[in-house]
């Protein structure tokens, strides 16, 4: 049984077919990697799940249909996500950015917040404790007081990952969390993704270009090309599939080959 299931998702922008009858599902405790070349429609799938885009087809999460729901209502169901470009609040610090994601857990009323009544203060302290735990977990505590707009992009991405975690999600959607990270940061991120999966036992959908990371920790891979699904299965199988290699892995290998060929020219 899938916790999250997409069936026959179609999405158009004008004449452009972005998603063409895409179907996929994620089980609880499963890490599903979503791979495919740039422009394949990976981010669009996340935006369909989040309710930012309005596709046709079915999207069900734990027995509830997400089609037609507002993004905030969908987030409230426990769908946490990170963004390809982090999308943090630049002038707030990491701690405040994470507190934003506690939004749906805060129970105090406007008047309690306004007058800073003891009830509101106690609750705020509880949320702060959750935030501080996640900051600790991700080794971000020493940066937590700095406005995030001035931090390196890689750090912003990790803060974005923390922001998704702190919301106590029932499913986690991660959009290229490793893009912009150094090799060392990537290894750390892979560890955090893997341990979050084991600790929380929630389904995770993970857009990733780093095949080394994917084959190391993903349970399954779903491959997208020009808005179509062209493969789904365990990493060992999918990464050997000739069609997948041609559509995706081939292009990166070609790109790498071009890079190495161009390098001496630039030097000369």
């Amino acid at each position: 049984m899938f916790d999250l299931e997409l069936k026959d998702i179609e999405l158009h922008f004008g004449g452009l077919v972005v998603l063409n009858r895409v179907s996929l599902g994620v089980r609880s405790g499963e890490l599903l990697a979503l791979i495919g070349p740039n422009g394949a429609g990976k981010t669009s799938i996340f935006n369909c799940i989040s309710g930012i885009y309005r596709p046709t087809g079915q999207i069900n999460f734990l027995g509830t249909s997400l089609i037609g729901k507002k993004p905030s209502a969908i987030a409230e169901l426990g769908i946490g996500r990170t963004f390809q470009h982090a999308e943090l609040i630049p002038r707030m610090n990491a701690r405040e950015n994470l507190l934003v994601a506690r939004h749906n857990h805060v129970k105090s009323t406007l008047v309690e917040q306004w007058l800073r009544l003891p009830s509101a203060r106690r609750e705020e302290a509880d949320h702060l404790a959750v935030v501080n735990d996640v900051l600790d977990l991700l080794s971000l505590s020493h940066l937590a007081h700095l406005p995030v707009g001035g931090l390196p992009f890689g750090i912003q991405k990790i803060i974005g990952f923390g922001r998704a975690l702190v919301a106590d999600p029932k499913i986690l959607l991660m959009d290229e969390p490793s893009a912009g990270l150094t090799q060392e940061e990537r290894e750390e991120l892979a560890y955090h993704i893997d341990s979050a999966k084991n600790r929380l036992g929630i389904p995770m959908l993970w857009i990733e270009h780093d095949m080394e990371m994917v084959s190391a920790i993903a349970d399954r891979i779903h491959v997208l090309d020009y808005g179509r699904s062209i493969g789904d299965g365990p990493p060992s199988e999918v990464l050997e599939d000739p069609e997948v290699i041609r559509a995706y892995l081939g292009t990166t290998q070609i790109a790498q080959a071009v890079d190495t060929a161009a390098a001496p020219l630039e030097k000369g």
């Binding site: 905030s72 943090l88 609040i89 002038r91 707030m92 405040e96 939004h103 105090s108």
Partner: protein, 351 residues
């Protein structure tokens, strides 16, 4: 707006959040004690200026929350103050209601108007939103003018000094203390909100509405809430203005007033409550400084007739100068100064 859909991130200015509260408690306490002692030595003229600053500060705090925090531009601030002033004036004139009725009524009137004029913000942004809030100004002024005309009070409405717990608020010292407390209370309330779920939701939707929604923030609801709360506060300061002047008339609420409030939050420093206070002080003092210049430097060629256009021009110039050279406003200058001094004293300590 930034674009989560296409993945094109917005390049936002990097700025530390400066929402008041922060910094050190002793400095604040010292400042409060100092301000409490002012009336013992100040002349009536200076007390009057201080009271004007306090009224402006309440309005500026409201606009700072709406524009500087929640990112919703408004040119209707003068109109909201007019709404509060007229609600109080009309209620007093027609029913003789006391301050415990007129002030809450003004807050409610402002909040309702804020809700109505916040609705376009669900569709419009930036300049278009500013234009729609401009309509608010003209509607309120029109209605106020109609009332003045219909009631035969074509010169305006006169108000008697308000009575609080049997005490008539009349002399400059009493006004100073009353307004001082109200500014402190407004600042405290706003600061509390900014450091809570509500304020963080405003910051989130200001930075990126799509991302905020995906984090669970009901953007439409929180935008309207920002309009409702800040309009209530702006209207409240308009009511205080009416009592303080003992007089309400549409002439007082020009479009220039709205622009002055925008000048306050820009000059003070966008996104900072303390900046709103600094901006209110600065902008209230500008006309007095120009007057003073006129008197002390006669050969500038300024006289009474050119003074007001000179102060208009000065505002325009100051706003542009701040936007270009000091976008973080007075609060930015202040923070840099403090940082420089503290780093200097650290160096000295090492040597």
């Amino acid at each position: 707006m930034s674009n989560t859909e296409t993945g094109i991130g917005k390049i936002a200015p990097v700025r530390a959040v400066a929402k008041g509260d922060g910094g050190n408690r002793t400095a604040w306490m010292g400042l409060i004690v100092l301000l409490a002692l002012v009336p013992l030595v100040a002349s009536p003229f200076h007390l009057d200026i201080a009271s004007q600053i306090f009224i402006a500060a309440i309005g500026a705090l409201a606009l700072m929350v709406l524009t500087g925090i929640a990112g919703q531009i408004s040119l209707g601030h003068g109109g909201l103050m007019a709404a509060g002033a007229f609600t109080t004036g009309i209620l007093y004139k027609e029913t003789g209601a006391g301050i415990w009725i007129t002030l809450p009524a003004s807050v409610v009137a402002g909040a309702v108007i804020g809700l109505i004029f916040g609705l376009p913000s669900l569709r419009l942004r930036g300049v278009y939103l500013a234009m729609s809030t401009l309509a608010l100004h003209f509607v309120v002024i029109y209605l106020g003018g109609e009332y003045e005309f219909a009631s035969g009070a074509s010169t305006g409405i006169f108000l008697d000094p308000p009575v609080i717990f049997g005490y008539e608020l009349y002399d400059g010292q009493a006004w100073y203390y009353a307004l001082f407390l109200l500014v402190a209370g407004t600042y405290w309330g706003c600061s509390n909100l900014l450091n809570s779920k509500t304020g963080r939701a405003w910051e989130a939707l200001h930075a990126n509405e799509t991302a905020a929604e995906a984090l669970g923030v009901q953007v439409a609801r929180y935008k309207l809430l920002a309009f409702v709360i800040t309009s209530g506060i702006a209207s409240f300061s308009g009511a205080l203005f009416a009592y303080y002047q003992s007089f309400v008339s549409v002439e007082a609420f020009t479009l220039f007033m709205s622009i002055q409030y925008i000048a306050m939050i820009i000059i003070g420093g966008m996104g900072s409550l303390t900046g709103a206070l600094l901006g209110a002080i600065f902008v209230t003092l500008v006309p007095y400084c120009i007057e003073w210049l006129m008197e002390t430097v006669p050969y500038l060629g300024l006289d009474i007739s050119t003074a007001s256009s000179a102060s208009h021009a000065a505002f325009g110039l100051l706003m542009i100068l701040f936007l270009v050279f000091e976008p973080s406003g007075l609060i930015g200058i202040w923070k840099r100064t403090v940082a420089r001094f503290s780093s200097q004293s650290k160096k000295e300590g090492v040597q």
